[in-house]
């Protein structure tokens, strides 16, 4: 999905009074145990997300095999306990700890080509201001 098309889709899905801060691509790695079990087929368990940061909270849009937006989950900032952030050379690891007890570990690029939806510094600062980021 192209950036403009994606932006339009995301803008349409926002509720009244909610404004967009930024969005970026994120990837959930497969479980390493699966690699030993099913080999290269484990790559099919990779999950791709678009993380959308708004004034109300964080939207997680999961992409399907064809790059279309599939499963959508929204968490208010009060529903996120903390975010564990580790910055690497090219990617930033973001581990979300939700109030429901579940965790979600995603990796997002902060460097790369122009067309890649990167994690911007302004989004990180906004997250730090609204959620406990460690």
């Amino acid at each position: 999905m192209k950036r403009e098309e994606l932006t339009a889709t995301i803008q349409q899905s926002l509720v009244e009074g909610e404004s967009l801060i930024g969005f970026f691509y994120a990837q959930q790695q497969f479980k390493i145990g699966l690699w030993f079990l099913i080999g290269s087929l484990a790559a099919f368990t990779l999950k791709h997300y678009y993380t959308v940061v708004t004034t109300h909270g964080i939207h997680f849009y999961q992409m399907d095999l064809w790059g279309k937006l599939g499963q959508h989950d929204f968490f208010r900032y009060s529903e996120i306990q903390r975010i564990k952030m580790r910055q690497g050379f090219l990617r930033t690891s973001l581990e979300y700890f939700f109030e429901t007890g579940r965790t979600l570990k995603l990796r997002s690029p902060h460097k790369g080509l122009k067309h890649i939806l990167k994690l911007e510094e302004s989004v990180i600062n906004y997250l730090k201001a609204h959620v406990l980021v460690a």
Binding site: L34, L37, L41, D64, W66, Q71, D73, F75, F98, R102
Partner: protein, 233 residues
């Protein structure tokens, strides 16, 4: 017998031990019983195959008994009349040796991912439709041949895993089919093996027929969005 126990425990352990995260981030992690109900068809299919293989190999779990093989394997067409009608069903559960059997078992285990998505009844229907369609491959062989194994059904399940999604456009459907074909070329190289039963060839025509049957079935009876809306995959 050791190989049998290892296969059985590994198969059950992997299917029940692996619990995928629920699709929605807001859902609670699935319980043991929920996990069991999501893979019950592939679990029992695998167990039936393991036990049948054990019995038909005289409890050695290595090579099929030659008498049982010729009795239960699909032993060709005699002027369009099947030699023994029950062979239509029994040949699906017969495997020549452990090298023939274990990849099929592993494939059913992996394709439990399809059952998690669409449910047990559709999983079994696609498996049966593809398996029975693959029988027609015997028409393509001039010489007398004995056919056995459930690989036609497995190929049908594999193509359904990629293409059986609700609301796919033609372009997306073709892309999914291309991914499947690529995987088939990677994982299913042509092989001829010599065993105690003689020359064994992979019945690629049966695989293709299984794939075609699964595609036709999935197009004829497309999966509904509600059916696809399982808690996890």
């Amino acid at each position: 017998m050791i190989l049998f126990l290892i296969s059985l425990l590994l198969y059950i352990g992997c299917l029940l031990g692996y619990k995928p995260d629920p699709k929605s981030l807001k859902d609670e992690p699935i319980s043991f019983m929920e996990n069991f109900s999501q893979v019950k068809a592939s679990l029992f299919t695998g167990i039936i195959l393991i036990i049948t293989f054990l019995v038909t190999t005289n409890f050695t779990f290595l090579h099929v008994n030659q008498t049982l093989f010729s009795y239960f394997g699909l032993s060709g067409w005699k002027g369009l009349t099947l030699q023994l009608p029950f062979q239509i069903v029994t040949h699906l559960f017969i495997h020549v040796d452990v090298i023939h059997f274990l990849p099929n078992l592993a494939a059913i285990g992996v394709l439990s991912a399809y059952e998690r998505r669409v449910g047990a009844s559709r999983f079994l229907t696609v498996l049966l439709v593809s398996s029975f369609a693959s029988i027609l491959s015997l028409f393509f062989y001039l010489e007398e041949a004995v056919s056995c194994g459930i690989s036609g059904g497995i190929f049908g399940l594999a193509v359904a895993y990629f293409t059986d999604h609700p609301g796919l456009t033609l372009k997306e459907w073709l892309l999914a089919l291309a991914v499947f074909v690529l995987l088939v070329f990677v994982f299913s190289a042509s092989q001829t093996r010599i065993t105690f039963l003689g020359k064994i060839e992979i019945d690629h025509i049966a695989h293709v027929l299984g794939v075609i049957a699964a595609i036709v079935y999935c197009k004829w009876r497309p999966v509904s969005i509600q059916q696809n809306d399982f808690k996890s995959y």
